[in-house]
């Protein structure tokens, strides 16, 4: 018998991902989250950009929209704004979201439309074969940073918070159970939710950075992740190089579609 969460898959295997890729873990965590959320599949749309992670939409039994590089959020904005009852999830990669889609990302955070963005951060452009992204840590190697990257990296969660997202969380593919919980919490929170997922790409990232085996990247995540509670008790020196996990930011601000509905009600009621 299939597990319930498998109902959210189209079962059009094989998938395209390499051995040791974290994308499948994220997809599974999402499906388990869907099971908990109990959303009607017909009333749920998954939108993605371009890249390895964005191929997730092809495998999900939902309304799925695989868009253009960096542009998932504008498409999702159109779906949600026109159909506010639709549950909208967006899957993006780190280059997709933070580089080419960076402008859309900050404005989606600012509008605070009730959607959940899951950004799979494997620190690299995987599909094009391993170029550094704006989320590649400083000094790490890539095919376009063969001597180590001199580009500073964004802290995507801080960026989202600063831009106005109402729910910001970070999880990873090692703590898969927690990842499901974060997706559920993000989806239930009204407003724009970001879940950044630290993920693994042994082929295009690990291989260039002395972690070619999937288990090495998994261990790297495990050893360098600290929970929010633990981080609170650590000094800045101790936190150096660590990645903080959990719900990092949660507020109840004005949600865009609701505000627009209020405007419609006001104008149609004869107001100005």
């Amino acid at each position: 018998m299939n597990a319930l969460y498998e109902n959210y898959f189209r079962k059009n295997l094989p998938h395209i991902w390499c051995s040791g890729c974290g994308n499948g873990i994220v997809m599974s965590a999402f499906a388990r989250a869907m099971e908990q959320l109990g959303y009607d599949k017909n009333k749920t749309t998954a939108v993605s950009g371009i890249g390895c992670s964005s191929r997730i939409t092809g495998y999900l039994d939902l309304n799925t929209l695989h868009t253009a590089h960096g542009r998932a959020l504008p498409f999702a904005t159109g779906v949600k704004m026109s159909e506010p009852e639709m549950n909208v999830f967006i899957f993006m990669g780190d280059g997709d979201c933070a580089a080419i889609g960076g402008n859309h990302f900050i404005h989606a955070c600012r509008r605070n439309m009730d959607m959940t963005a899951i950004v799979i951060n494997n620190h690299i452009y995987g599909m094009t074969g391993g170029q550094f992204s704006p989320l590649t840590p400083f000094g790490k190697k890539a095919t376009t940073a063969p001597y180590g990257s001199v580009d500073p990296a964004f802290d995507l969660c801080e960026l989202a918070k600063g831009a106005g997202a109402n729910f910001v969380a970070r999880g990873n593919v090692y703590h898969a159970k927690q990842l499901t919980d974060l997706i559920v919490a993000g989806a239930r929170h009204k407003g724009f939710s970001l879940i950044e997922v630290m993920a693994t790409c042994p082929v295009s990232y690990g291989r260039h950075n002395k972690m070619p085996k999937p288990i090495e990247l998994m261990n790297h995540i495990k050893e360098n992740t600290v929970s929010l509670a633990r981080a609170a008790k650590m000094t800045p020196e101790e936190l150096e190089g660590k990645v903080v996990n959990g719900i990092l930011h949660q507020v109840d601000g004005k949600e865009y579609c609701q505000e627009y509905q209020n405007l419609l009600d006001r104008i149609q009621g004869g107001g100005k």
């Binding site: 059009n12 599949k41 017909n42 009333k43 749309t45 939108v47 939409t57 092809g58 039994d61 939902l62 309304n63 799925t64 929209l65 695989h66 868009t67 253009a68 542009r71 959020l73 504008p74 498409f75 999702a76 904005t77 159109g78 779906v79 704004m81 026109s82 159909e83 009852e85 639709m86 402008n103 859309h104 404005h107 627009y260 405007l263 419609l264 104008i267 149609q268």
Partner: protein, 374 residues
């Protein structure tokens, strides 16, 4: 009941979109198209439509494609620089066959160019602006009333053919104010996209007899995949040679084979015309004036005004040009439409009259050229 008013071309587009059933607009401010957005921002809330100002033109067209996938007639308005930015996603709308309407109010380019004056410089960009092979529909109105009716037609064609449609309007018409009168009893037919047949298996990109598969909107119960990758009939990525070939050819033929249905022209005094002026948009009005002046002087001139710019009706143009003494194509660019005319007309000299300083081509310029070539 009809009401006569003074209306601007851009405003007429907004009114036409509403008459066509549009309920979603996403855009970014740009001269000389901004009045379309301003009008929609005022009017949509009154009828429950959704207006959103996006962070740029790429986001604008992305949002309208998303809203159209969710079942809403959607559009945006822009000008040259914004139209350039939109090209990749116009290609996305073409390959995914999602109905969208883009109003491009043309100003001189390239780059920032001359934002406040007029041009017809986006004729070829509308056809070939995005990469790869696909067909597209583009219309060009010559008056404020036509801006209204052609916007309705743009939506109708987008829905019928599942394609992006570009309304190519020169700034001259966009900012022109003239008499506007709509008779509610003579409302044009409104076409909506074909829905899947209930009870029948839905194949999202089925190669149906008419080459236009039915469109299941998101949320209607048909869960399927839309992708900008080459795809098979079920919508999923495929690189299989016959699948890719069939997909690209269907995108092409579903429009290029229907020129008789899509293409519309207006003819003025063409029956006995020795000189045929082929002009569109505001330039056609100068051409009509020029033809009248020439007739008064005893020169048999006539005007062919293409309302549909793309697809190009090879056979129609070739036939109508037959037996004339000369063809003159005046346009506010370096000769973009004339290339197509020259491609299909072999036995009659085809002359190009160009103007690129932002001003309209005057009737005098046209009559002068006619006398020069005679």
């Amino acid at each position: 009941m009809s009401k006569v008013r003074l209306v601007q071309g851009n405003e007429a587009c907004a009114l036409g979109a509403i008459a066509a059933g549009a309920t979603f607009y996403a855009g970014y401010p740009i001269t000389p198209s901004t009045e379309v957005a301003e009008q929609i921002a005022v009017l949509f809330p009154k009828i429950g439509g959704k207006f959103i100002q996006m962070e740029d033109e790429i986001a604008s067209i992305g949002a309208i494609i998303g809203a159209s996938a969710a079942g809403h007639k959607s559009f945006t308005a822009t000008s040259g620089p914004g139209f350039s930015l939109m090209q990749e996603l116009i290609g996305y709308a073409a390959i995914t066959e999602i109905p969208t309407v883009v109003i491009d109010v043309m100003r001189p380019g390239p780059s920032t160019g001359l934002p406040t004056l007029s041009s017809q410089g986006d004729i070829q960009q509308a056809r070939w602006g995005t990469h790869g092979d696909h067909s597209i529909i583009a219309l060009s109105p010559s008056s404020v009333m036509e801006a209204y009716y052609e916007t309705i037609q743009a939506f109708n064609l987008a829905e019928k053919y599942r394609t992006p449609v570009v309304l190519l309007m020169d700034e001259e018409i966009g900012h022109l104010k003239e008499r506007f009168e709509v008779n509610d009893e003579e409302k044009p037919e409104i076409i909506n996209r074909k829905a899947p047949e209930p009870g029948k298996e839905y194949i999202p990109y089925e190669n149906t007899e008419d080459m236009i598969p039915p469109f299941a909107v998101f949320g209607s119960g048909y869960r399927y995949h839309i992708t900008g990758l080459t795809h098979g009939e079920k919508g999923f990525y495929s690189s299989a040679l016959p699948v890719v070939d069939a997909m690209i050819r269907r995108l092409w033929h579903k429009i290029e084979d229907r020129v008789d249905d899509i293409c519309r022209f207006e003819q003025v005094d063409t029956a006995d015309a020795e000189i045929l002026l082929i002009a569109y948009g505001s330039t056609a009005r100068s051409a009509e004036e020029a033809a009248e002046v020439l007739r008064a002087e005893g020169i048999k001139a006539g005007v062919l005004r293409p309302i549909t710019i793309w697809p190009f009706h090879d056979q129609y143009i070739a036939e109508i040009c037959q037996g004339r003494k000369a063809i003159i194509v005046p346009e506010m660019n370096m000769g973009q439409y004339v290339r197509e005319v020259q491609r299909v007309v072999q036995d009659v000299p085809v002359h190009s009259l160009t103007r690129v300083d932002g001003e309209m081509i005057t009737p005098t310029e046209i009559t002068a050229m006619v006398k020069e070539v005679l």
